[in-house]
Symmetry: C2
């Protein structure tokens, strides 16, 4: 059995971005750029007014003759002389020969002449061509996460497509004859499968939209066949349950017989001890314990960073922070504990219901406290490391 830090190290060895694909810019929200983007244009693409007002050649005149008007979007270049002005609007093209715009609030007009109450500095209210970015300059660097502002910025430069990392195809295999699907009636001894929806939505939160869910019968033959099929179809296979020591836990053998190479099996942690990780060529398999809280803890600690790395994120682990515990936190297990907690204003409060079968505490927690295997107690008022969940 390996430690949590060894398991994370093993995962990190495979944290390599997926292949690069080109996508329409409007479909890339929260994707990561796989290339430097060079600006194809100057921005602004012309000398631009930043105000509603009047463009003129800077000089102290008593008045200026208004010789025309430039709306935003007009392409015309009005020729004006010193002592003349043109009405202009925000975003409009400033005449080549003009150098300054006075905002209309600082002017009066009479009989076709402009009177300036407060002469602005030369070059005021004029955005030079390429002020924000020039043709050929780097607009955004490889590795940038494309949020709404980044995409808006690139669209403003006229960029239609960008290179990002391909989303891995993920399958979730659900084992366990006791599991009923939502809407079915429970018989004595049965429970509802919640791992398929929990894992699917957890994947959705990090941007994985297409997830295949397959329910397997608890026989070796069915498990082996399903593993084979999903390995062929998917980049990442999550298997829920069937990886423990019970007589009906066929997953490990099914993985072996499908020549999926084990990287590790069993981690000295609670919950989630019987975690299995391996791969066949470029398809990676996480066999997660079937208990709901075990499965989700393993997802956050191991699967999420692996998938975020595939998507090209440079920071792929959930953020690790420190807080002070509001009461003693005890570890009698000699394992690394992941404890559902609420952290507010630097104070960490462990929640009730930490058993591996219990999701309720996960539903209301915002953090997982990490209590290392060699630490028997963190006393009230002492610091603890935690992982921020949302």
């Amino acid at each position: 059995m390996i430690s949590v830090s060894e398991a994370i190290q093993h995962i990190e060895n495979y944290c390599i971005p997926s292949i690069i694909i080109e996508k329409p810019i409007e479909k890339t929200l929260n994707s990561v750029l796989a290339e430097d983007i060079l600006s194809p244009i100057n921005m602004p693409p012309f000398k631009q007014s930043s105000m509603d007002g009047y463009a003129f050649i800077h000089a102290e005149n008593e008045s200026y003759k208004i010789i025309g008007e430039i709306q935003a979007g007009n392409s015309e270049d009005i020729l004006l002389k010193e002592g003349e002005a043109v009405r202009i609007f925000t975003g409009a093209r400033v005449p080549n020969i003009a150098d300054t715009v006075v905002m209309q609030e600082h002017t009066k007009t009479k009989d076709g002449f402009l009177f300036i109450d407060k002469l602005p500095n030369k070059f005021a209210n004029v955005r030079p061509l390429g002020e924000q970015i020039k043709v050929g300059e780097i607009a955004l660097e490889k590795g940038t996460k494309l949020n709404e502002a980044a995409i808006g910025f690139l669209v403003g430069l006229g960029i239609l497509k960008v290179k990002v990392y391909k989303q891995p195809k993920v399958s979730i295999l659900i084992t366990g004859n006791e599991l009923k699907q939502l809407g079915e009636e429970l018989k004595e001894g049965e429970v509802y499968d919640s791992n398929s929806i929990t894992l699917k939505l957890a994947l959705q939160q990090i941007g994985i939209k297409k997830v295949r869910i397959v329910k397997i019968k608890d026989t070796f033959k069915a498990t082996k066949k399903a593993v084979k099929k999903q390995i062929e179809k998917s980049d990442v296979v999550l298997i829920s349950g069937g990886i423990s020591v019970g007589d009906y836990d066929f997953v490990k053998k099914a993985l072996e017989e499908n020549e999926v190479k084990e990287v590790f099996y069993k981690v000295n942690q609670k919950p989630g001890k019987p975690l299995w990780f391996g791969h066949k060529d470029d398809t990676f398999v996480f066999a997660l314990p079937g208990n709901p809280a075990s499965s989700l803890s393993c997802f956050y600690m191991y699967v999420l960073p692996f998938i975020k790395a595939k998507l090209g994120h440079l920071k792929y682990h959930l953020p690790k922070l420190k807080a002070v515990v509001n009461e003693d936190v005890v570890n009698v297990h000699g394992k690394t504990l992941f404890l559902k907690a609420e952290v507010h204003n630097g104070i960490a409060k462990q929640l009730k219901g930490q058993a591996s079968s219990m999701l309720k505490s996960f539903a209301t927690s915002n953090s997982l406290l990490l209590l290392p295997e060699d630490k028997e107690i963190v006393k009230k008022g002492e610091e603890i490391t935690y992982v921020k969940l949302n």
Copy 2:
């Protein structure tokens, strides 16, 4: 002109959740519960083994006769006597009369008899019926944000539908004759519209999936007509541009003539001064300045909290935190400044390119520093309040 805090106060007066609707549980990720959810079942719904091992009546015997096997999902209640044991697996129903499960790692078997190496405590490895939650107890409270764990938990209780707050229908009206759509060719004096995609994706980030985008011609007639139509169709209308003082800024007049009641117009802030907010009955209108950074700043400070409140979020503003500035931050405007910045490890670094036309700094920022209107400088090493963006 009102202050930023007055503007926020005005918005908060209308921060009331939308109507309540019922939705299939699997469609509610990141929604907010509009009702307390009572558990319809006990969880676990039966006395359940938490281990692979053997169930028995707790007693110190030399050996125990193995009289049967219970797989997970079996509904049968095996009758056993003291001195007898049944093979059992994780998640399986423990016989009514049994009280304890010994994990298989602590046992040996021979000729149909079980030998226990390490007798567990009475009741060990048995999850009592309703241990996590009992029928009729509150599973999750009204106001809970439905993350993947919360939804998984409710699915585990067999809950098919929940009441959440209806998503507002949002329209975005884009004004500005100088704006070309992505893929079109720019002529001199024209720029690409980026506000429609930026606002659409910003809405998507907070869960608003359906957004109608309408491009308006800069005439009063077209503006008035478009405003009328979208007010009838939408719960929230965002208008981009046309709200300033230029002769072609028809939005304010179009709102007035459509009897949209002004709550406020113009806020003492930079960027984003000409922000307009009002409503006609239950439809709310934000007229946002057309400059990309102004529009997005106003979105984060005013539109986002308003819409998150509609969705039922109790904390609807972006989180406000404190950091120390890495160099003097100066305010020569007498306005509240929203400054794009990067904050890491409590250190805030203002980015270059703060002009209202520039989105690049927004693309790479993670925070907006808030410099109040009455504060002329925050010196290097002093604290500043900031809003966390992502």
